[in-house]
């Protein structure tokens, strides 16, 4: 049986951008710089979290665990709402990525040059999913600086994946990261550059 669908028009449309990256890479900071962050509790079944690892026979299939994640909301005009979801970075929560990735426009993968390897699982995952993404190096105050081409080499990114430097605390910087992502999505959609005019600020 299906749920009743109303014929009333949607007052707004909701769209989703994911913020991925290793633990401590600044995901919550980034979401907070551009929107009001709100905590979201989810209940996840252990069967999904531990498929193939834990023997749950005899315990039943209803065992759940609480996972908290952050999300932010940006209202654009009166009819478009953009949601930013911080993906839980720890490996043990990666089973949630599938659900959160469903229907997502694209992904910002945050990286810290001191622990560049922490973003590799995200890069691999979203490459496989063929979801458009940008890699944003969060420039922590006490982190060493590297040339962007050096970083691109170290990350082994495809040529069409934008790599940008950012400060996850700064609205203007986060804004530019998101704009770069949306432009990337637009280019990917149209199959070539230049479909959407992009004046640089």
């Amino acid at each position: 049986m299906g749920s009743a669908h109303s014929d009333s028009a949607a007052a707004f449309t909701a769209h989703k951008i994911l913020i991925a990256g290793g633990f401590g890479s600044g995901k919550t900071t980034l979401v907070g710089a551009i929107s009001e962050v709100r905590p979201l509790r989810t209940e996840e079944t252990l069967t999904a979290a531990s498929a193939g690892l834990d023997d749950l026979s005899g315990i039943g299939s209803k065992t759940t665990t609480t996972v908290a994640l952050d999300f932010g909301r940006i209202t654009i005009g009166s009819r478009v709402v953009l949601y930013l979801f911080g993906l839980p970075g720890q490996e043990r929560f990666s089973f949630m990525w599938d659900e959160l990735s469903y229907g997502a426009l694209g992904v910002v993968i945050l990286a810290d040059v001191r622990r560049l390897g922490d973003c590799f699982p995200s890069v691999n995952y979203f490459e496989r999913l063929r979801l458009p993404f940008v890699v944003a190096i969060n420039c922590f105050d006490d982190a060493p600086r590297y040339d962007i081409e050096e970083l691109r080499l170290a990350l082994d990114l495809d040529a069409d994946v934008p790599l940008v430097l950012c400060d996850a605390r700064e609205l203007s910087s986060v804004k530019q990261v998101l704009i770069t992502l949306v432009e990337t999505i637009a280019v990917r959609r149209s199959g070539s550059a230049g479909h959407i005019v992009t004046p640089r600020t």
Binding site: F23, G77, L105
Partner: protein, 126 residues
């Protein structure tokens, strides 16, 4: 735990186990798992008029928030209920005809170039 990635411990914490408010049910009664970005709204029909006892305070809280069109994710945040719990309670209210899902294009087709352009303009104006 670095301060930038804090997992907001709730001072008060939930007093009851999450699924206590659903009577232990973890699956929506209609078998449909609503997406986080699904938009729902009240229909104006009185829910559970035949059996008011079936409406819990959590059901009523959800009905209150749903008077305006709202996404499942905002609903969960507004009511401070876990998403899984919200899905179960929403399904009850949908089956009773008190709440309805607002028809939208599937997520994959929702964001046309016009919407992308609108998002770009909106971001630039922030």
């Amino acid at each position: 735990m670095p301060p930038g990635d804090k997992w907001r411990p709730r001072g008060t914490g939930p007093v009851v186990r999450p699924y206590a408010v659903t009577g232990g049910r973890t699956e929506p009664a209609d078998g449909e798992t609503l997406d986080l970005l699904t938009v729902v709204v009240t229909t104006g029909q009185t829910a559970g008029a035949d059996d008011p006892a079936r409406l819990t305070p959590e059901h009523r809280r959800i009905l209150g928030v749903c008077e305006q069109q709202v996404t499942v994710v905002d609903l969960a945040a507004d009511t401070a209920l876990p998403v899984g719990v919200v899905r179960v309670l929403l399904a009850d209210l949908i089956l009773q005809g008190a709440i309805t899902v607002v028809r939208q294009r599937p997520a994959a087709q929702r964001t046309g170039n016009d919407v992308l352009q609108e998002i770009l303009n909106g971001l630039r104006a922030l």
